[in-house]
C-alpha cells in the first residue's frame, strides 16, 4: 500500500505543479497591472476549464475526495452492517416461513405488531421482558462505580507482585466464554454440585439448595456473575487513567499534609470522574443491549420468567419458536425504544451539561 502511494506521488506532484504555476504567474501579473488583471483572470479561468475538461477539480475538492476515499471503507462497513440489515425489517410485515421466499410469502401488514398488544397476557409478557432488561441493566449501572473502587484499591497496593497477581486473576474471567462460566457454575452450584455436597456432608442442610434452578433473586445472581466476570476488565481503563494523573497533585497534597485517604477522596476520585462519566454514558446507550449469551446459558424453566431480557426474548421467539417474522417485529420495537432512550439521555445531557452527545 505504502509503496503504491510512493510511486503515485510524483505523478500527482507534477499535476499539482501544472495547475499551480499559471495561477502564480497570473497572480503576479494581477499585482503589477490592475487593469489587465480582470481579463487575465478570466483568460486563466477559461484556460483552466479547457485544461481540466469536464472535471471541475481544484485543490480543495481533490483533497476532499482523497479524504473521502480514506473514510470510504468505514462507510462501506457501516452501510453493510448497519444500514443494509435494515432491509430485513420487511420480514416483520410478511408471514415468512423459510424456505418459502419472501416474494411468495403472505403480506400481513401490522399483524405481528398488533398481536403483541392483542391481549393483557401478551402485554404483560412484553412488560416482564422489558422489566427484566431494565432491571438487570439498571443493577449494572447502579453498581458501575465498582470498577472505579476496585481500580483505586488495586492502585493502593504497594507490593507489586501481589497487585499483578490480583489484577491477572480478576481480568482472566473476562476471557472465559459464558458457556464455560455456566459449566463452572454447574459444577459448583447444581443440586449435586460441590457447594451442596459440602454443605450436606457438613450436616448444615438436608435438602440441596436450588442455586441454578429457582426463580428467586435471578437479577442479583446474574449481576453477581457478570460482576465476577467483568470487574477486573472494567478496572483496566481506570487503571490507565490513574497513571495519567499528574503526580505533582499528590506531591502538593502531601506537602499540605493530606493522608492517603484524603488524597484518594480529593485527587484520585475527581480525576477519574471524566472517564467514569464517559463510560457511564456508553453503558446507558447500551441499556437495552445487555447481551444474551449469559442469560441464554443460565435460562431454564425456573429462571425463565425473570431472566428473559429483550435480546434473549427475540432469540427465543425467532429461533426457539421459529416465528422469525414476530421476532423481527419485536426487535424493531427494540430499535424504537433505543432511539427514545438516546433522545432522552441527549436532552438530559444538553440541559444539565450544556453539551449534547449526538
Amino acid at each position: 500500500m505504502s509503496q503504491q502511494k510512493a510511486t503515485d506521488a510524483p505523478a500527482t506532484d507534477q499535476a499539482k505543479a501544472a495547475t499551480v504555476q499559471p495561477s502564480l504567474a497570473t497572480a503576479m501579473a494581477a499585482t503589477s497591472k490592475p487593469t489587465e488583471s480582470l481579463e487575465s483572470v478570466k483568460e486563466y479561468q477559461e484556460k483552466r476549464r479547457k485544461a481540466e475538461g469536464k472535471h471541475h477539480w481544484n485543490d480543495e475538492k481533490r483533497h476532499g475526495f482523497h479524504l473521502f476515499l480514506l473514510v470510504s471503507p468505514l462507510l462501506l462497513f457501516s452501510i453493510l452492517f448497519s444500514y443494509y440489515p435494515l432491509f430485513g425489517w420487511v420480514y416483520a410485515f410478511y408471514d415468512y416461513q423459510p424456505p418459502i421466499p419472501l416474494s411468495e410469502s403472505k403480506f400481513v401488514g401490522w399483524q405481528w405488531f398488533t398481536m403483541l398488544w392483542s391481549n393483557p397476557t401478551q402485554l404483560r409478557a412484553i412488560g416482564q421482558v422489558l422489566l427484566n432488561t431494565f432491571g438487570i441493566s439498571g443493577l449494572g449501572i447502579i453498581t458501575s462505580f465498582f470498577p472505579v473502587m476496585f481500580a483505586i484499591a488495586l492502585n493502593e497496593i504497594r507490593s507489586k507482585w501481589f497487585r499483578n497477581l490480583i489484577q491477572t486473576l480478576t481480568t482472566l474471567p473476562n476471557f472465559i466464554s459464558w458457556v464455560l462460566v455456566y459449566a463452572i457454575a454447574f459444577a459448583l452450584f447444581s443440586s449435586t454440585g460441590m457447594v451442596n455436597s459440602v454443605l450436606q456432608n457438613l450436616g448444615w442442610i438436608h435438602k440441596p439448595i436450588h442455586f441454578l434452578d429457582s426463580g428467586s433473586h435471578v437479577w442479583l445472581k446474574m449481576w453477581a456473575w457478570s460482576t465476577w466476570k467483568g470487574l477486573g476488565w472494567g478496572a483496566i481503563l481506570y487503571l490507565a487513567s490513574l497513571t495519567g494523573i499528574d503526580p505533582e497533585l499528590y506531591e502538593a497534597a502531601q506537602v499540605d499534609g493530606a493522608n492517603r485517604w484524603q488524597q484518594i477522596i480529593h485527587i484520585t476520585v475527581p480525576q477519574l470522574l471524566p472517564t467514569y462519566f464517559v463510560l457511564l454514558m456508553l453503558s446507558v446507550s447500551n441499556f437495552l443491549n445487555n447481551g444474551m449469551d449469559q442469560y441464554f446459558v443460565f435460562q431454564n424453566a425456573f429462571t425463565q420468567e425473570h431472566i428473559q431480557v429483550l435480546d434473549l426474548y427475540v432469540y427465543n421467539i425467532g429461533m426457539g419458536q421459529n416465528s422469525l417474522s414476530l421476532a423481527t417485529a419485536i426487535s424493531m420495537l427494540k430499535s424504537v425504544v433505543s432511539v427514545i432512550l438516546l433522545w432522552a439521555v441527549n436532552t438530559a445531557s444538553k440541559k444539565i451539561r450544556g453539551v449534547s452527545i449526538v
Binding site: F65, I79, P98, P99, I100, S118, F186, H210, D213, A301
Partner: protein, 576 residues
C-alpha cells in the same frame, strides 16, 4: 462534490446488495445421467443423533453397494431448534437425501427444494410395494400428484396389532430385584406405587450404602408441548398426545394441560407427591438425557418410564442373577401402544433433494432402506452373519447374533465387513423405514429377532422366569399386557396433523413455554400452596394467551385423527 459523494454511496450500496444477492442465486438442473463416480451424499437427518460421515462397517456396505458416502447433517446434534433447517433451506440446498417432517416437506415442495421421484421409480421394488404410503404423504400435505416422499415405519401388519413386540416405549418399568427384596407388595393405585417406590429406594440405599439412589429421575431435553415426563406417564393409562392435548384413541376421553381433573394434571400431582416423598432425584430439573441414561446404567434409578435404557441393567449376566428392569404390576394401568401403520408414519418422511446429483442412484439407495435386508441390518441382525435359516426356513440367531442383539459391548465385526466395532460402525441414520416389529413377508416372522419362534422356545433366564411367575405366566411385557387386558392399541392411521395458521402457531408455542415452565415448577414445589400457585398461574396465563382458539383447533385435529383410525381399521378389514 455533493453529487460525487452521493453517487459513490449509491454505487457502494448497490455493489453490496449485489454481492449479497449472489448468495441466494439458484441453478436449475436438468435430469442427468449417473456419472458412476464416488459421491458424498448430504443427508439432512432430522431424526439423526450423530453428525458427520458414516464410518465403520455400515459405511463400507453402502460404499460397496452404491459407491456412496453418507454425510449426516443432524439438527439434533447442532441444536438451536429449527435454525439449521431454516438457514440451509433458505440458502437453497437442504441436502441430497432429506429426512424431515411432513409440514416442512410441504414448504420444501413450494420452494422447489425436493424432487418428484416419479421418473426414477422404475424397477424400485420396495418403493413400488409401498406406493400407497407415498400417497398418504401426499394426502397429509395436500398434494394431488407426484411421489414426493416416503413415510417411516411402514408395515404389512394389521393396524390394530400393537407395533411394540416386546416392551411398550412408555410403561412403569421397575428394578425387579429390589421389588423382590421388599416382598412383591401389590400395587392397587398410584398412591400405593409411591409407597412401593419409597420402600424400594430405602432398600436399595441400605443394600448399597449409597445415598444418591433415587426411585425416579427426570430430565427436560424432550419437553415438547408438555412436560414430557408427565405426558409419558399418561401413556400408562392409554392416553396419546396431540399438541398439548392427551386423548384416548378408542374413546372420547381427552384432557388439556389446564383441566384440573385431567390426566396431565393428575400425573403432575403424582410426580409432585413423589418429590414430596423424597423419591425424586433433586438433579432432575437440570440434568439431560445422557446423564440420566448413565444413572440408570449405574443403578442409581429404580423406576424408568421409558423402555429405552432398560438394556443397561438387563444384560445377560445381570438377568442370570435376577437383576434388571421389568414392568410393575400396576393394577389400574392400561398401557398405550401404537398399532402398525400400513401406510407408514407420515409425520417424518424421506425425500430426494432437488439439487442432488445422480438422482437415480439416490432413489436406489432410498429403495434399499425399505428392503428386508436393511431392516434386519438396522436392528443389529445382519443377515447371514447374525442369523441363519433352519431346515423349515425359520430364522435363528447365531452366536454372533446373540451377542450383537443382547450384549453388543465390545463386539467386533468380522473381516468381510471390514472389522471394527459392531455398535459404533453400525447405521447412524436412525431412520426406521420399515417398522421393526412388523412381519417380513419372506419368512412370515417379525424382523424383530426377540419374538422369533426359535427365540421364544429357548429356556427363560432367571429374571424373566421369576417375573413371569408373578405376571400371569407371560414371557414378554406385551404378552402380559394383552393377557390381562391392560393394553390399549391406537389403530395405526397415517395421520399427520395440518400445520396451524402462523398466528395460532405463535400462541401455541407461547403456551407450550408457559405450560412446561409451570409444570416443572409445580412438580419441584416445596409445599401444596406453592404447587397450587403454579398450577393456577399455568391456567390463567395459558387462558390469557388465547388457549381457547388453540384448543378448538387441536380438538378438530383429534377428531380427524380418530376418524382416520376408524377408516384404516375398516379398510384393512375389507382388504382381508
Amino acid at each position: 462534490m455533493k453529487r460525487t459523494r452521493l453517487t459513490a454511496l449509491v454505487c457502494l450500496g448497490l455493489s453490496a446488495s449485489l454481492a449479497l444477492a449472489g448468495c441466494g442465486a439458484s441453478s436449475s438442473s436438468a435430469p442427468q445421467r449417473d456419472d458412476g463416480k464416488e459421491m458424498t451424499v448430504q443427508v439432512f437427518d432430522s431424526l439423526g443423533n450423530d453428525a458427520g460421515i458414516q464410518k465403520g462397517w455400515f459405511g463400507k456396505v453402502v460404499h460397496d453397494k452404491f459407491n456412496l458416502k453418507l454425510n449426516y447433517i443432524s439438527p439434533n446434534v447442532n441444536g438451536g431448534g429449527d435454525s439449521l433447517f431454516d438457514t440451509r433451506s433458505a440458502a437453497g440446498n437442504l441436502g441430497d437425501v432429506i429426512i424431515v417432517s411432513n409440514t416442512k416437506l410441504a414448504k420444501l415442495i413450494r420452494a422447489h427444494l425436493v424432487s418428484d421421484m416419479t421418473p426414477y421409480l422404475k424397477g424400485m421394488k420396495n418403493l413400488q410395494r409401498f406406493r400407497s404410503a407415498s400417497k398418504a404423504v401426499n394426502q397429509s400435505i395436500g398434494q394431488k400428484s407426484g411421489v414426493w416422499a416416503y413415510p417411516n415405519n411402514v408395515a404389512v401388519d394389521s393396524p390394530t396389532k400393537s407395533s411394540a413386540a416386546v416392551d411398550p416405549d412408555g410403561a412403569p418399568y421397575i428394578r425387579w430385584d429390589y421389588y423382590r427384596e421388599i416382598g412383591y407388595p401389590p400395587i392397587h393405585s398410584m398412591d400405593d406405587f409411591i409407597n412401593v417406590l419409597k420402600a424400594m429406594q430405602d432398600r436399595a440405599r441400605k443394600d448399597t450404602g449409597k445415598n444418591d439412589i433415587y426411585a425416579i429421575s427426570l430430565f427436560k431435553d424432550w419437553d415438547g408441548t408438555l412436560m414430557q415426563n408427565a405426558a409419558v406417564l399418561a401413556q400408562w393409562f392409554g392416553y396419546m398426545e396431540h399438541d398439548n392435548i392427551l386423548f384416548q384413541p378408542n374413546s372420547s376421553a381427552y384432557a388439556t394441560p389446564i383441566d384440573k381433573n385431567g390426566i396431565y394434571q393428575k400425573m403432575l400431582r403424582f410426580l409432585y407427591q413423589c418429590n414430596k416423598a423424597g423419591i425424586v432425584d433433586p438433579e432432575s430439573s437440570t440434568q439431560n438425557w445422557d446423564r440420566l441414561d448413565q444413572k440408570v446404567a449405574n443403578g442409581k434409578v429404580l423406576m424408568m418410564y421409558y423402555s429405552f435404557c432398560n438394556w443397561h441393567q438387563n444384560t445377560p449376566e445381570n438377568m442370570k442373577k435376577g437383576i434388571g428392569f421389568e414392568i410393575a404390576p400396576l393394577e389400574p394401568m392400561k398401557v398405550y401402544t401404537a398399532g402398525f401403520k400400513p401406510n407408514g408414519d407420515t409425520t417424518t418422511v424421506i425425500a430426494l433433494g432437488s439439487k442432488a446429483k445422480n438422482k437415480q442412484r439416490l432413489v436406489k439407495f432410498i429403495d434399499w432402506l425399505y428392503s428386508s435386508y436393511f431392516t434386519y441390518m438396522d436392528n443389529a441382525t445382519v443377515p447371514d452373519l447374525a442369523f441363519k435359516y433352519n431346515a423349515k426356513h425359520e430364522p435363528y440367531l447365531t452366536a454372533f447374533g446373540e451377542r450383537s442383539l443382547f450384549n453388543a459391548n465390545g463386539l467386533m465385526m468380522p473381516k468381510s465387513f471390514g472389522g471394527g466395532s459392531a455398535v459404533s460402525g453400525g447405521p447412524h441414520l436412525n431412520y426406521p423405514a420399515v417398522a421393526y416389529s412388523s412381519t417380513d413377508p419372506e419368512t412370515g416372522e417379525s424382523y424383530n429377532a426377540r419374538i422369533w419362534k426359535s427365540q421364544l422356545n429357548k429356556p427363560l433366564d432367571n429374571l424373566t422366569k421369576e417375573w413371569s411367575q408373578h405376571m400371569a405366566g407371560a414371557k414378554t411385557t406385551m404378552e402380559y399386557l394383552t393377557k390381562t387386558h391392560r393394553s390399549e392399541v391406537a389403530p395405526g392411521a397415517s395421520y399427520a396433523p395440518p400445520e396451524a395458521p402462523s398466528t395460532l402457531a405463535v400462541v401455541q408455542s407461547q403456551i407450550k413455554t408457559e405450560v412446561i415452565a409451570h409444570s416443572w415448577k409445580a412438580v419441584m414445589a416445596n409445599s401444596d400452596a406453592e404447587y397450587n400457585k403454579e398450577i393456577n398461574a399455568m391456567i390463567s396465563e395459558t387462558k390469557g394467551l388465547g388457549y381457547d382458539k388453540v384448543k378448538a383447533f387441536d380438538l378438530k385435529c383429534i377428531s380427524q385423527w380418530r376418524a382416520a383410525m376408524r377408516q384404516i381399521t375398516k379398510e384393512y378389514a375389507n382388504k382381508k
